[in-house]
């Protein structure tokens, strides 16, 4: 028989088999690190690529402008503006809708498209049905999120109030558009597809409905290659000003693009920081484990040296052993990571609604993960082998001289009488090898730390909900009126049975402008002494509302590029539609939402209508909620009733859910890593000390007593690791939150006791499981064998 495999390689394979439990645990540690890294990085990569492709394929415009009304002929002059590439005019309008079977008011935007063909820019991806046909009035194509929220399909009908007239609209298609990836109602940061929708209608029909024949009120354009955006915008503004131009803006200020960019930026940060930490922790743990594992083979290394194997031969031998584990872990991790990335991509796809997800394997990502893993493993091998070959073989083969232990601090303090012999052995072992103990503690505590990093997001979200909906918003129902209403309506609400308190609110729909930046939102009128809806900032301090001027959230101020003391132009979108200049009186910081606040009376003065209310916040008797809701929905002037719980649900469903899916995966892997580390630490301790423990058994110690010596040490280390892990985890999480700050959200760093408890518990559970396995092995220790085969 020809034996092709070298004896040394056979040894490697059999050693590997012999330590399969540990090898598998290490494979899982690597797998977790690599899978996290690969999935998070590749999904981000895929999202960005898909967005870019989507924009290109569907010709997303580079610039946008709105005018009050301009003649169609102007398009010729627009196209002549230097730097303008393609340009297309549209009619766009806000619209109120009635959806059959949905009692609440629904608003939307209606955008014109050419009949019978795709628009030149911002093309639609047809999911269902078709585009609108020429000569058929009342056909609309719905944006998919909206259609889905109401289960609307081609053939269904909805009612729209176009320019004050009721119109029956027939749904002919469901589509996606690069312009409305984030279908956000002006003023909100979370899409609410039930209450706000975008739709497309034939240009001719829309022109007719809005008396815009031969005219347009909206312009989209692309930039010619090499064109300067600011320059083009300035020239267009000049051209459009006579027609009531509101100022053109580039893609970066386009709401959907702005939000998606912000979200991607946040995702990008999360997916670049966390997985790297994960991978680094996994690599660090790997290094510790492998160093110790190979140190166990000191005598075999000496034998190989005695027979003339060179240090390089030996190094390669152990490198191979470790490479099998590392490569298996990295390969499995990459495969799992890609699979998970695809799954995660699908979740994001549902959320962002790209027509496709361009998910391809990025070899660079896999290469980085694998290289880091292998590098860390090999560094461990190198360290261990170097240490092992440093001794002359004769010395390495000789049983190590009795390690020099000494009395511990506890004993030097004279406290030994409080501890029995086994306990003193534990203490001396810990004190003798502080570096080993420290590394083990570091390893276990970093696994505890990454658990916390995966878990704390839940706490932060809960805190946001608590502050936003618990402290700041204490109402249980929000009632909105169809139009601004007098004080009498509030009194009526207060009189309803079951209503404990009603607090009026005023929201004035406006467009805020500063320079060429603008933002459509609602100014919230704040009463003098609000009870249900107090305005608080991230430090939980009440926000002072001056009698005059606006208070903007710092993010809105950022979007408008405005500072306190400066004026913004407020275009009121109701009543007489006044345009006024209002100073920004102050800024406030809030976790979510872009908002503008004003004293209620000042807000009302802005509209010129006098004292009126948009609705009221109600505090009610919870038992009568159903009854109250029914009564209210029968009132003609009540446009909508929103329950607090539903709002919280909506919040959880959007960002929170995406984020929590993500963190669930992280926590899962962190748990695996924790187990891998603790198990390996325990298992290696057993190998290092089996002779000593077997001797004790021979001397008459019971299994329990021997287990106590070994596992007691582990217990001490684990118990030290957990608080340290808490500290490391809190620090890292706080840093992570800082890195994740965007204009849009401001996630607070909150770490609940239950999260710490859960992280600690997972580490403890891993430790207990590992201890049980080790105990089982300890019970099967071949007493005579262990004592005989060595020294």
């Amino acid at each position: 028989m020809v034996n092709m495999m070298k004896a040394l390689d056979r040894k490697m394979l059999r050693d590997l088999w012999g330590m399969r439990g540990q090898a598998v645990a290490i494979v899982f540690v690597i797998l977790s690190g690599v899978a996290t890294y690969v999935s998070m990085t590749s999904v981000m990569d895929a999202l960005q690529r898909s967005l870019d492709m989507y924009y290109t394929d569907y010709r997303f415009a580079d610039g946008f402008a709105t005018v009050r009304r301009a003649p169609d002929q102007l398009i010729g002059r627009i196209r002549e503006v230097p730097g303008v590439g393609l340009a297309e005019t549209r009619v766009v309008s806000g619209v109120n809708l009635e959806v059959p079977g949905f009692d609440e008011p629904v608003s939307g935007s209606i955008v014109s498209i050419p009949e019978g063909r795709q628009p030149t820019l911002n093309r639609l991806f047809i999911r269902e049905g078709r585009l609108v046909q020429p000569g058929r009035e009342g056909e609309v194509v719905l944006n998919e999120p909206f259609a889905e929220a109401h289960d609307l399909h081609p053939g269904d009908r909805i009612v729209a109030i176009l320019n004050g007239r009721y119109r029956d609209l027939r749904v002919v298609g469901v589509a996606l558009s690069p312009e409305f990836i984030m279908q956000l109602e002006p003023g909100s940061v979370f899409p609410d597809p039930q209450r706000y929708g975008v739709m497309w209608m034939g240009r001719t029909a829309l022109e007719a409905a809005y008396d815009m024949d031969g005219a347009f009120n909206d312009l989209v354009f692309t930039l010619a290659p090499g064109a300067d955006e600011d320059d083009v915008i300035d020239r267009l503004d000049m051209l459009l000003r006579p027609y009531g131009g509101h100022g053109a803006y580039g893609r970066s200020d386009q709401p959907s693009h702005f939000f998606i960019t912000e979200e991607f930026r946040q995702l990008e940060r999360t997916s670049s920081i966390l997985p790297v930490i994960f991978l680094a922790v996994a690599a660090f743990l790997l290094n510790i484990v492998i160093t110790r594992l190979i140190s166990l083979q000191r005598e075999q290394i000496a034998v190989l040296k005695a027979f003339g194997y060179t240090n390089t031969d030996i190094g390669i031998h152990y490198a191979k052993l470790v490479m099998v584990i590392a490569v298996a872990g990295a390969a499995a991790g990459a495969v799992l990571g890609l699979w998970m990335g695809r799954g995660l991509g699908r979740i994001y796809l549902q959320y962002y609604r790209f027509p496709y997800l361009e998910y391809t394997l990025n070899p660079g990502v896999v290469f980085t993960a694998t290289a880091l893993t292998i590098g860390a493993s090999l560094a461990g091998v190198l360290q261990a082998v170097r240490r092992a070959v440093m001794l002359p073989p004769a010395e390495a083969m000789r049983p190590a001289p009795p390690a020099s232990y000494r009395a511990t601090i506890v004993e030097r303090l004279g406290l030994q009488r409080y501890f029995d012999q086994p306990t003193r052995m534990i203490m001396r072992e810990l004190e003798r090898r502080p570096v080993k103990a420290l590394l083990t503690v570091l390893g276990i505590s970093s696994s505890c730390a990454i658990l916390i990093m995966g878990l704390f997001f839940g706490d932060s979200f809960d805190y946001v909900i608590h502050v936003q909906y618990g402290l700041a918003q204490r109402e249980s129902l929000t009632v909105t009126f169809t139009e601004p209403t007098s004080t009498a309506a509030i009194c009526e609400l207060r009189g309803l049975p079951g209503v404990l308190y009603a607090e009026p609110f005023r929201t004035v729909p406006v467009k805020l402008r500063h320079g060429h930046r603008s933002y459509q939102t609602g100014i919230e009128g704040i009463p003098d002494d609000p009870y249900l809806r107090s305005l608080i900032d991230i430090d939980l301090e009440p926000v002072e509302i001056p009698p005059e001027g606006l208070v903007l959230t710092d993010r809105l101020a950022g979007i408008l590029d405005v500072r306190p003391g400066e004026d913004v132009v407020v275009e009121v979108q109701e009543g007489s539609r006044y345009t006024r200049s209002v100073p920004v009186a102050g800024l406030t910081s809030q976790f979510i939402g872009i908002a503008a606040y004003m004293d209620m009376q000042a807000a009302n003065r802005l509209t010129g209508i006098g004292m009126a209310f948009s609705g009221a916040f109600l505090m009610i008797d919870k038992n009568r909620e159903r009854e109250i809701t029914r009564t209210l929905s029968e009132r003609p002037r009540v446009a909508g009733i929103v329950s607090q719980e539903r709002a919280i649900e909506a919040f959880r469903e959007t960002t929170a859910q995406t984020m929590l899916t993500y963190t669930f995966i992280l926590s899962l892997f962190a748990g695996v890593i924790a187990f891998g580390v603790v198990y390996n630490s325990a298992r290696i301790s057993l190998s290092e000390r089996d002779r000593e423990l077997a001797s004790l058994r021979v001397l008459g110690f019971t299994r329990g007593e021997v287990a106590y010596i070994l596992l007691g040490e582990l217990a001490v280390l684990v118990l030290l690791s957990i608080p340290l892990g808490f500290v490391l985890g809190s620090g890292a999480s706080a840093a992570l939150v800082r890195a994740l700050q965007t204009d849009l959200y401001q996630l607070p760093f909150v770490l609940g006791r239950s999260t710490l408890g859960l992280a600690g518990l997972i580490v403890l559970a891993s430790a207990v499981a590992s201890a049980l396995i080790v105990k089982w092995r300890l019970n099967r220790l071949d007493l005579v064998g262990v004592l005989k085969t060595r020294e």
Binding site: A7, R10, F307, G308, P392
Partner: protein, 236 residues
């Protein structure tokens, strides 16, 4: 006839630094070993026998003095040269066998033949120690004597010019010990390998051509046996 000198030592000294104490294992050894001879190093525990053999075999370095192997100064060799020397010239047999537990008997021998220049096959080597039928057993499946014979097969498979055995029978009973010594005797006779056997068992000295007595790190006496006994005639 003037026999070829294989090893020559001059003033060989070894001091172990054991942390808090210094142990003088060798205190200046002057010695010559000749090609093809079977030498027994006899001495009590701690007399320096193992240290001497380890230095001769390139497993350990001297603190002072010189060691020459066929005119090459081992005491000046670096780690790479010592590795080379061990790989091609020396075979070791240890008291506790030091077999690699994850490899079979044949593979334990192969691990050496694979890197040797002119080895016999592992099968031949195992045949030579009378273990032709246990080639595929793992160390754990072999008795102590059998394990030690695998270790001998492993040591001689590369056809080394010297075979250094540190208490090869130390962990074995008398009957098994004799079988192991027979194997060593046969290797010495058939392969003409210079063989050094460490023991504290005076009986085994009878199978040697020369007996070197060590005590407290010094050679106290060298005796030549007028007639060597066959290993099978020994008993203790």
């Amino acid at each position: 006839m003037n026999p070829e000198i294989v090893f020559q030592t001059r003033g060989l000294t070894k001091v172990y630094d054991m942390g808090e104490v210094q142990v003088h294992a060798l205190r200046g050894i002057d010695l010559e070993l000749y090609a093809g001879e079977l030498v027994v190093l006899l001495g009590a525990s701690g007399s320096g026998k193992s240290t001497l053999v380890n230095i001769l075999g390139g497993l350990d370095t001297a603190t002072d003095g010189e060691v020459f192997y066929r005119g090459r100064e081992l005491t000046r060799a670096d780690d790479r040269e010592l590795t080379e020397y061990r790989r091609h010239h020396v075979g070791f047999v240890f008291q506790f066998y030091n077999l690699i537990p994850s490899l079979t008997a044949r593979e334990n021998v192969a691990i050496v033949t694979e890197i040797a220049r002119n080895p016999m096959t592992p099968e031949e080597a195992l045949e030579l120690v009378g273990l032709g039928d246990r080639k595929d057993s793992f160390p754990a499946q072999l008795s102590g004597g059998q394990q030690q014979r695998v270790a001998i097969a492993r040591a001689i498979a590369k056809q080394p010019s010297v075979l250094l055995c540190d208490e090869p029978t130390g962990a074995l009973d008398s009957k098994t010990g004799v079988i192991v010594l027979e194997a060593l005797e046969r290797v010495n006779r058939e392969l003409k390998t210079t063989t050094v056997i460490i023991t504290h068992n005076a009986v085994q000295a009878d199978m040697a051509e020369r007996i070197i007595y060590l005590s407290d790190g010094l050679v106290t006496r060298i005796r030549r046996n007028a007639e060597k006994k066959a290993a099978r005639d020994l008993s203790w």
